[in-house]
Structures are given as structure tokens and as C-alpha cells.
Symmetry: C2
Subunit: 306 residues, 2 copies
């Protein structure tokens, strides 16, 4: 559909976006959606992405912004050891926003949800001075205990599912005007290892978190919540395949991105014993410090108002 | 806490806001919250409010904005016949936003949730060019069927819980510079009849909706979804107590607000037979038209990009 969002209208956009949605007892046209969570507990999380802060529309296509926004919340559900089942989306944009772009963004949200077995079940569209996407993801534990940040125990091993540093390398590439580098794709659309969330929970994970603020910052959250320290072998960390090329092209030590970069949504978990499915990258130790064995850079975390 | 949001920081605000939250198996410090919905189904809805479009901070205190934002989503849950159990909040504001105001807004959200037995279980705080509040409300059906928009049947009576026109009268008063009029309070903080949602469901409601776009627009949604028409007796509609004063002071026909005004979040339901707890305001008829018996004005609905 050609035209501006204010020509299409709120109800027109909702109709266009939900045209392909699966039938539901309470559909997008109702006040609220009804979502099945068989064991009587729902896992729920909300994230907000703002144009210019979390994405740039001259760097990312609207479809990719939708996928990235969905991935951020869906990864939080996976990090609890839950199976993602549904998304609710709040979308704000100026009336002059291109209607086709809004529909593409919504398709990105729907496709990312479908990639892990979830679907978009509700939303709200409003006029706003900037493009804002808020995504609430719901998940089902299917009878398992949630995997929290507070359960890491001294002696556990630390494992990682997914790869680190790609999103940060891609952002650095775009900042440097190098959109030819492969890492750019990892910034535009992360690939969280959704299925590993449930698998790690079933493997007995004592704690889990997804890497959204950067490994160093996120491990710090687990250390504080669990009252433990960590010893991490930097050389064992799984690095995104695109990072080496970007590091060489931009002359930046890849550890900056691997230790400090967020938005990859890899899963970091603690297990009572090693499991061949995931690389061991360190262990839980006494104390409250995180030791980075082999680090060449000083890890730093991301603060949203810093 | 004095200071700006960018001095307090994201984690500082989250800590301040969640300081009084009840303990939970997965708290605000985890990737996601775990919420009990005993019958294995969760009712979920998202709404977004934007400064300058849905509220003005020179007209409403931050605390009131929080209550209003929560009420909008909680009323959607009630309109499904569900019991509200939890809120997740996305909050965006400029770094220069006063930290105390952010905390007050969050307290308003928490107090409105508490008013219907729910609590704030999660959220996200981001930097944004304008103040944006996205609220996802979750509810439990406790074994009941959801009450949809699509179930109205010819011969049903139409009932209303709560009162109409107050929020629109208050907005008109503020626009006219008359913040001395009582209706202003109804605009700043609506009072949805939360408990009536479950009561109407238990009374056998065949359809239900909350009045957020204006009675005329919202009844139109039910008419389309159910494939029916309505005959509404305008003289029987419950009018908010503040409307008469505002109509006299501003020289506006109160029917403008009662039929077309949104944001009161009264509940409109169809029942197979009258119930003494709620006034009958009309009946479901064949066809697809809404007849307004006794209307002096032409009802109109609210379009967010119009």
C-alpha cells in the first residue's frame, strides 16, 4: 500500500499487519489476546527500541528493525528456559511514516516470532514524534522451573550458546562507513539461539542470562544476583564468524566487541558439569569479582542513559 | 532523588521503582517475570501513550499519567472478563527528564495496578525524544471463557458498567483553560469498573468492550465483529457526574462527550437478559446499523492518525 501512515490510519495498519495471523479464540480485533500457557505460569518481558538510539533507519531496513526488536524480547524469554509463545507490539511513528515501511517492520516482528514458534497476538499503533517499538514477549515453562540469574553455584562451569561480538562489530562497521563488512548483518538482525534456552534448562542450568548489555555487564548481573564470582577464559569464548574481518578492517581489538558488546543475545548459563553441546568458557568461583583470563582490554558495560 | 534521569541511570531508576515490589520467584532483576495464571491461559494486551498525544505534562502530573496509562490496559483485560494480575511497562524519556517525575509516574502505574489486585512485574527504561509509556497488562480467566466482541446476539440487552463522558469533558475543560471544572479529574485519572468485568462474565455476558475510542466507535466494533445492529436509548446511558457542570460552563451538548468521547473505560456488555446490577441502555437488533434513539448529535469515533 502506498502512502503515509496518517492516510492508512490506525485500523488500516492493524488490519494489514494482522492479515496473515493465525486464527485465535480472541483475535487482534478483541480487547486482548488469549494465550495458552499449559502449566499455569507465563514468562513475560518487555523491551523498548527507539529510533536513533537502538536503530537507525538509514542503517537498517524496517523489516530488520522488526526482527531485531522481536529478537531482543524473545531472547529474554529463552534465557529463562522458557519456550516463546507470543508477542504483543506497541508501535509509534510520525504520521508521515511510510505505510509500506510500517507493514514491513511488522512482518519482521512476525517472522522473528515464527522462527522460534511464537506469533504476534496483539498490539497498539499510535502517532509519536519518533519511531518507537515496544515488544512484550510471553513464554511457557511447560512444567520446568524458571532459570534465574540467582542460582549460580561455586564449582559450576560457565557455558555459552551462540556467538559473541557480531552485533557490536557490525555497529562499529556502520559507524565507520563500512557497510560492506559481514558483521553489519549481525548488527541488523541478531540470531539468538532460542532453542538452546529450553535445552540448557533441561540440562540443569543453575543460572542463565542473554547477552544484551555486553558479556561483562551481564555476567556482573549474575555475579551480584547469585553472590558468586567468575573466572572466564577469554580464549574459549565463541566469537561471531564476522568479527575477525571487521577487527582487521577497522584496526580494533576484537575483544572490545566480544567482552563489551551487547545485542548478540547469546545465552550464558552455568551448569553443574560440562555438556558436550556447549563450550565451557569458565567457572563459578567464590567472591564477587569477574576475572578475565587472557583479556587484552578492560571490559565495560552499556548504560542506557550514560 | 533529585536530578535528571541521565544522572540516575537506567538501573538506578529500575531499582528505585521496584523497591516496594512484592517478592517474586523471578523479580525485576531477571530477564523476565513469571506470572501465575492458574487455568493455563493468559489474557494479554498492550497500549502505548505518547506525550502530547495522549497526555500533556502541563495538564497532568506524572503520577496521574502513570495511573491513566495503567488503567487503559487493565480495562482491556477486564473487558475480556478476566482478572488483571500483572503489568509490564516500557518507559522512554529524554535524559533531561526529572528523576523524581519518573519515579512518580512509576508509582502511579503501581497504584493503579494495585487498585485491581495486580502488580508491576517487569519493565524497560530507555532514552527517547518524548515521554512514551507502553503498558502490557496480563490477566487470568480463572476457568471462565473469554468474553469477546463477537458474541452479541439479536435479542440481547445492552448494559453499561461505569460512567460515560467524563474524560472527554475534562479534556474539553483543559483545552478551554477551565481546570477548575470537576471533569478534569476524570480526564487525568479514569476509574474503570474493573470488578464489573469478571461480574459481567459470570452473569453470562455474550460480548463486552471497554469504551476507549468513544461509545459510538466501540459499539461499531462489536456490531461488525458480531454481525448485528444496536438500538441504543441515549437517555438511559450512565453519564459521569462531572459532565453536566462542564457542559453548562463550556456551552457544549453533553451528548458530544457521552457518545463520542473516549478514555473513560466504562464497560459495555450484552446480556441475554437484564440484570439489576447494571442499567439497560439498549438492545441488540438485526442488521448492521447502530440506532441512537434520542441523540441530538452525530456520534463520531477517534482515529489515532486522523
Amino acid at each position: 500500500m502506498a502512502g503515509r501512515l496518517d492516510e492508512l490510519g490506525e485500523f488500516g495498519l492493524v488490519a494489514a499487519v494482522t492479515a496473515g495471523s493465525p486464527p485465535s479464540p480472541a483475535g487482534p480485533g478483541d480487547d486482548a489476546a488469549v494465550v495458552a500457557v499449559p502449566d499455569g505460569r507465563v514468562v513475560a518481558t518487555t523491551d523498548v527500541l527507539v529510533e536513533g538510539r537502538h536503530f537507525r533507519l538509514d542503517w537498517s531496513a524496517p523489516y530488520d528493525v522488526g526482527r531485531k526488536a522481536a529478537a531482543q524480547s524473545l531472547a529474554d524469554v529463552a534465557a529463562m528456559g522458557a519456550r516463546p509463545v507470543a508477542l504483543l507490539v506497541g508501535f509509534g511513528a510520525p504520521g508521515s511514516f511510510v505505510a509500506d515501511d510500517a507493514v514491513a517492520l511488522a512482518r519482521g516482528l512476525a517472522d522473528e516470532a515464527a522462527a522460534c514458534g511464537a506469533s504476534v497476538v496483539g498490539g497498539d499503533v499510535v502517532a509519536a514524534p519518533a519511531v518507537v517499538v515496544s515488544v512484550t514477549a510471553l513464554g511457557s515453562l511447560d512444567g520446568r522451573a524458571p532459570v534465574l540469574r540467582s542460582g549460580a553455584r561455586v564449582g559450576d562451569v560457565v557455558v555459552v550458546a551462540g556467538a559473541l561480538g557480531g552485533a557490536a562489530a557490525g555497529l562499529a562497521a556502520l559507524t565507520a562507513g563500512r557497510d560492506d563488512l559481514a558483521a553489519v548483518a549481525a548488527h541488523r538482525v541478531p540470531s539468538p539461539p532460542y532453542a538452546d534456552g529450553v535445552a540448557l534448562a533441561e540440562a540443569g542450568a543453575t543460572s542463565m542470562i542473554d547477552v544484551s548489555d555486553g558479556l561483562s555487564g551481564d555476567l556482573r548481573h549474575v555475579a551480584v544476583a547469585s553472590g558468586v564470582g567468575f573466572s572466564i577464559d577469554v580464549s574459549a569464548l565463541p566469537v561471531h564468524a564476522s568479527v575477525g574481518e571487521a577487527a582487521a578492517a577497522l584496526g580494533i581489538d576484537e575483544q572490545e566487541w566480544v567482552l563489551g558488546g551487547g545485542d548478540d543475545h547469546a545465552l550464558v548459563a552455568t551448569l553443574p558439569a560440562p555438556d558436550p553441546r556447549w563450550p565451557v568458557v569458565g567457572r563459578v568461583v567464590e567472591g564477587d569479582a569477574v576475572e578475565w583470563v587472557g583479556a587484552r582490554v578492560a571490559p565495560r558495560a552499556w548504560e542506557h542513559f550514560a
